[in-house]
Amino acid sequence: MKAPATFRYGRDYEIVQRLRPEPMTERELNAQSLIEGLDFEIFQHKAGMVALEGKETTMRLGASTAMRWGDVAFGIYTARGDLAVCATGIYHHAVLSQLPVKYIVKHWRDDPSVGLAEGDSFFFNDPFYGGVHNADMGLVIPVFSEGEPVCFIGAAVHTGECGGSEPGGMVNGAKSRYDEGLLVPPIKIGANFLLKEDILAMLSNMTRDPRTMMLDIKARLAACRIAERRVKEIIAEKGSDFYVGALRKILQMTGEAARKKVARINDGVYRQPRFMDTTGPDDALLKINLTVIKKGDKIKLCFDGSSPAIPDRPINSYFQGILGLAMVYFCGWFCHDLPANNGLLEAVEWEFPEDSFVNAKGDMPVSYAPATQVAFAQGMFMCGARMIYALEPARAVGSWYSGFAVTPFGGFNQWGEPVADITPEINATGAGARPDMDGVDAAGAFFATMSDCGDVESMEADRPFVYLFRNFFNNSYGHGKFRGGSGVGYGVMVHGVPWLAIGGMGFGTRFPSTLGLFGGRASPPVFVQCVHGSDMKSLLATGSAGLPHNMGDLYQDAPLESGQRTLGHVSSPPQLYGEGDTLYVPIMGGAGYGDVLERDPERVMADLKRNMVTPWAAEHVYKVACDRDCRRFDPEKTRALRNEARGERKRAGKPYAEFMVEWSKLRPSPETLRYYGAYPDPAGRDAASAAGGVAS
């Protein structure tokens, strides 16, 4: 591989490699002697409180959906850009949001035309540095002491609209990064404690919802300024050397702690290939070939054998975004008892193939990178569960729903104001099942653990929707000895406006996105329904009974609602919906854990009573017999059904080699494989090599 570029007038490929903490500076090193145990422990808590105050403030002031429901990361970075202290539930930002800061240090700090001074503020949204996609925007300020920058403070949040060629921050039809809207590398947007109005005018003018853009920028900045005051108070009390050294020490200790935790895990090679069913605009098979090699105190993530990059489809992801999602698993599950910062990456190594859609380059669009990243994260969950089972079996859990069904929209609201955003139900997925209990129903989003899905009334207050329902979806989760947590389904009708553009971002329609663990079942595939020319408005007005009240109802009897009904992929370009048109979206549940035949029939009965499992699944999946009307459990018949099912499995079983002979004859259609790479191994190796020789 050639040396990475450091070209300023384009993308800086060198800076994005610097995910781990920078080498310790002389000042940081010298300051270590100043840091006494107790003072450091007190400092750690104070720094955490500063970050928490910043996060709370950002959330309170912001306006976009993600901001409103808590999808915020707020942190304190060292003077060289490493994130030492972070308050967030979107843990990928805990390791990714440092890159723009390192960019500022590298390119602007010493540049006479830009420079770095007290009172400056910098904005960025180029996903190359943020790691995910354009809708993730950040703002960072330097903090000075005695004329020297001692740290940076920053806030990163998903602002729902970024001026792409489609509304809502994610561009299904993007052919290159130039279709995806604002593409701002870290730039100075304020100096002398003043935001530059001309730049704000430009940024807001380039999006569909200028008010939200402005409120979100101001929210980030106000929070940063408050945190700046707090940091200066710490420095006034403890001195800047102590402060600089203590920030560094947090990183150092986090790295050491992460390595200690990793070292406790059994060495081994853990594999979990992941598949996706879309490139964004078209159905196709893609593979993320995840191999996790655990050795000593390091975990290495390898992606050799993943599908090639697709230059003109938005499904590509930057490698740093993939690593960011690995840290979601680390921070929330594996290392939940450690600080969330990029010191964690001291325990992680990685290897990405040059030509792969998990390692986007050049002008490739990346609007749908979140889908690719969560697809990978599901593999991380599964490898993680296997890795830590021997250590902490209670934490070897099934994956939360790891597909996506996001609904971006844009237009005008019922008050005549422009709006463009996403609906918040992505924060209502089901959690994965556990070794001793079911997953939590409608738990949230695994990648944004402090976020929620808000109230429907809050949505309807300034979005032109009437929700027809928002309830659990009993066909949304993976079955198992313990089932995944249920997701929700919601239906909306466009209301109070003549039209609204609505699209879809996600994957997992052609086959499941979220696999079960240790014999548990996957969450089912996900479909979106829409009805154009719907008569829903008049059905409501006439008080019709029998309208759908949950997602399951849509698949039961013939619908009352008439119009042009479409059942489609969750990934779709925006279409215009007229007033009264309807859209129905499932937000899926978590993965199952263990064999369905081992599920306690009482649990199945309880789910039946709550309508959390369908009678069909109770009978055909769990093999539980009951009187359908009175819901009385029949233990004898259940035992017989389960014995019969086990017998059937034995009959269907065959030696592995025999299975492989038959399996290898199967092959998806050429159209399905057109973006896949060579089949079965996208890297083009022969089948024997692709199968691998090391047991996982």
Partner: protein, 712 residues
């Protein structure tokens, strides 16, 4: 002579405070009788009578008001022993309370539990899922009916719920706070079907009446919690009222509300009694703050397991909690905010081996059982109280006025084993670190709470209450930046004291979106009646309610506040409105400007965005009844020298530089106003120990409150 009495029931003790017309204060504590709270309650009343040298009946007959902050409702939630309720909601939203805005698993939990994603769980619901039915109907965001209520469907579903054993109905429909038509109709139908003269008559709780606020989850949960605890509270309080009447008390029992006021039992919504004790404590801070000239107060209460924090600004309780959590449920009551963190005397110190053997204190607590190691009840983990004992602050032979003996050897043993040895330091050094660390964390938490409300914490006086407040105040105050700490004379029963001083007050609230300044048109609201009509309606409701309590309109005072926001922000900023009616566009402009001023104060001017549009989202009209403030009896000064109160000395450790030093110990009961004590020193009081650090000076004021000042 008459008395005002406050009663505050806590997890361990029930506190009583009686303030005579002569200003004399009598305090009493007795163990809480969980099996029947009235037993402890009546025992306390007898003891107060005894201390006033009156027969119980005579005493009770002379009581002007009994103000009670009760935990009956809270206990019902914890024990989940409420009635079998049914919920009627809009069809399509039957799972709203179970979805819980998805993150209800985190509500009411400390951060360390919230971060452990693999083990999260949602709380057991208050209503069984099969007791929830959806009714075909729909109202939109303008309050317009877009789907009529289906009567036949409703009747069938009511029957279904009754057959399943419903003991009460909660009705919560989408947008019902804007248009109550359907909720009222459902109530009417239920009452027609099950009229009061039928045995099957059941209470019907409407969300639009309990909580007319936006947000279907919080509105529904507020109504559910209210309905869940209503019956239990009513039974319990009616029984207690009867006992009091039989005992000679002539007036209605008054309940403390978490909104910062009090109302008669018969005029109280049950949900407003949750967490009233700390709010009463804040009210006590107001009273003592007024005496000592402290309008800006941080109220703190450090007990065995928790550390409560509340903020008073300009002598007013105005910091309302945003969607407060009751038990594990988000609600939208306009409660005064009291934050509780897991730091107390029972907080356990431990070594975080992963993070480089760093010392941690909490979040786990030894609680009261087994409690700190020094209690000798089987505690094997070092706690903050153990550290306090090892450092010599606590008198092992006279803890809690001699009610408990402490074993210093046990404390030293666990600190040595669990902390000192692993860190390679002495037991004393370890105890010192534990204390410093917990003090720092509490102080930093307080700082954050005050700062998040847009105030400079350094300008506040700290009120230190609770059993451990006086012991740690000099330790945590520097982390707030406070130079003045007040330890109230009745700090150990401060909730009861506060309750006894509270006024009749209630808040009437209503969600309504009014675009005071429109972003798309850049002009101010012209339809002033849309604003004035809302306020008028709230005022009429308040007058009607207070008249039913027996007050005249001339006695009432009203104060209006608005929740406001820019554009499509989610969070709201509360703004005080000086007038109850808008007369002109200038008034609207001034209202918008005052919002921007307040917003800028809290979040910095850079955050303000007035051109983005300004909305009023919720109206709060508080109505209070003018009453004479209680007068407290002053005590004559005794000069600066506290020599007469010197009880002896103890070896105490304040810092490594000085090691153990012989420290004077004063008897609080012998101290007199004006007595001045320079730290380091200790004061043994009946229910607490004052630790006066080096650099601090203690002066007792005329009301026996301790005022500690940090030397400059």
């Amino acid at each position: 002579m008459g008395f005002n009495v406050g009663i505050d029931i806590g997890g361990t003790f029930t506190d009583f405070c009686s303030i005579g017309d002569d200003g004399n204060i009598i305090a009493y504590k007795t163990p809480t009788t969980h099996y029947d709270l009235s037993v402890g309650f009546m025992r306390g009343m007898r003891e107060l009578a005894k201390r006033c040298e009156l027969a119980p009946r005579d005493y009770l007959s002379k009581v002007h008001a009994l103000r009670y902050s009760t935990t009956v409702g809270t206990n019902a939630l914890i024990e989940r022993n409420g009635p079998k309720l049914a919920l009627i909601t809009t069809a399509g939203f039957e799972d709203t309370i179970f979805i819980g805005r998805s993150r209800s698993w985190a509500d009411g939990l400390p951060m360390h539990e919230v971060r452990d994603m693999a083990r999260i769980s949602k709380p057991a619901p208050l209503i069984d899922p099969d007791m929830v039915v959806g009714i075909s109907e729909r109202i939109d965001c303008h309050g317009k009916v877009i789907a009529p209520l289906n009567r036949e469907e409703l009747l069938a579903k009511i029957q279904l719920l009754v057959d399943k054993g419903a003991m009460g109905f909660v009705v919560s429909l989408m947008w019902s706070f804007l248009n109550t038509e359907h909720e009222l109709l459902i109530k009417k139908i239920i009452e027609e079907e099950y009229p009061e003269d039928y045995l099957g008559s059941m209470p019907v709780t409407l969300s639009s009446q309990i909580s007319p606020k936006a947000g279907e989850y919080t509105r529904t949960m507020t109504s559910v919690v209210n309905a869940y605890i209503h019956g239990i509270m009513a039974d319990n309080l009616n029984q207690l009222s009867s006992e009091l009447r039989d005992g000679g008390y002539q007036r209605p029992l008054i309940l403390v509300h978490n909104t910062g006021g009090t109302k008669k039992v018969s005029r109280t919504k049950a949900v407003l009694t949750h967490n009233a004790g700390p709010v009463a404590g804040m009210y006590g801070s107001l009273a003592v703050g007024a005496l000592s000239g402290n309008p800006n107060v941080v109220f703190t209460d450090m007990g065995g397991t928790s550390f409560d924090i509340g903020v008073i600004v300009d002598a007013e309780l105005r910091a309302h909690d945003f969607i407060p959590v009751i038990d594990r449920w988000r609600t939208n009551i306009p409660a005064i905010e009291v934050k509780s963190i897991g730091s107390g005397g029972g907080s356990i110190a431990w070594i975080n081996e992963l993070m480089g053997n760093s010392l941690e204190v909490g979040p786990h607590s030894a609680g009261s059982m087994p409690g700190p190691a020094c209690y000798d009840k089987g505690g094997e983990q070092p706690t903050v109280t153990d550290a306090d004992l090892v450092l010599g602050y606590l008198n092992p032979d006279n803890y809690l006025a001699g009610e408990m003996f402490l074993d210093v050897e046990l404390s030293a043993g666990v600190i040595e084993e669990k902390i000192a040895k692993p860190l390679g330091i002495s037991v004393l050094e370890a105890a010192y670190r534990i204390r410093r660390l917990v003090d720092a964390r509490m102080g930093q938490e307080v700082f954050n709470e005050v700062a998040l409300k847009g105030h400079d914490p350094r300008k506040f006086a700290v009120f230190a209450c609770g059993g451990a407040g006086a012991t740690h105040a000099c330790g945590f105050a520097p982390y707030i930046g406070a130079r003045k700490v007040v330890v109230p004379a009745v700090a150990s029963v401060f909730g009861a004291f506060g309750a006894s001083t509270m006024e009749i007050r209630q808040v009437w609230d209503l969600s309504r979106t009014l675009k005071l300044f429109r972003w798309d048109q850049q002009h101010y609201l012209e339809d002033l009646e849309s604003f004035n009509g809302i306020v008028r309606g709230l005022k009429l409701a308040a007058i009607r309610d207070l008249k039913l309590e027996g007050f005249r309109e001339e006695q009432m005072e009203f104060h209006l506040e608005l929740d406001m926001r820019y554009g499509s922000q989610y969070n709201l900023t509360k703004v005080s409105v000086p007038r109850l009616a808008l007369q002109s566009e200038d008034d609207v402009r001034e209202l918008c400007d005052s919002f921007t001023r307040r917003y800028s104060e809290i979040y910095s001017p850079e955050a303000a965005f007035p051109v983005g549009g300004v909305n009023a989202e919720c109206f709060y009209l508080s109505a209070s009844v003018r009453q004479e403030k209680a007068a407290f009896r002053k005590e004559a000064g005794g000069g600066e020298s506290p020599a007469a109160a010197l009880a002896g000395s103890r070896q105490a450790y304040f810092d490594p530089a000085h090691g153990f030093i012989d420290t004077p110990v004063y008897d609080w009961r012998l101290l007199k106003p004006e007595h001045t004590i320079h730290g380091p020193a200790l004061i043994d009081a009946p229910e607490t120990t004052y630790v006066i650090d080096r650099g601090w000076t203690y002066v007792m004021d005329a009301w026996r409150n301790g005022v500690l000042r940090r030397d400059s």
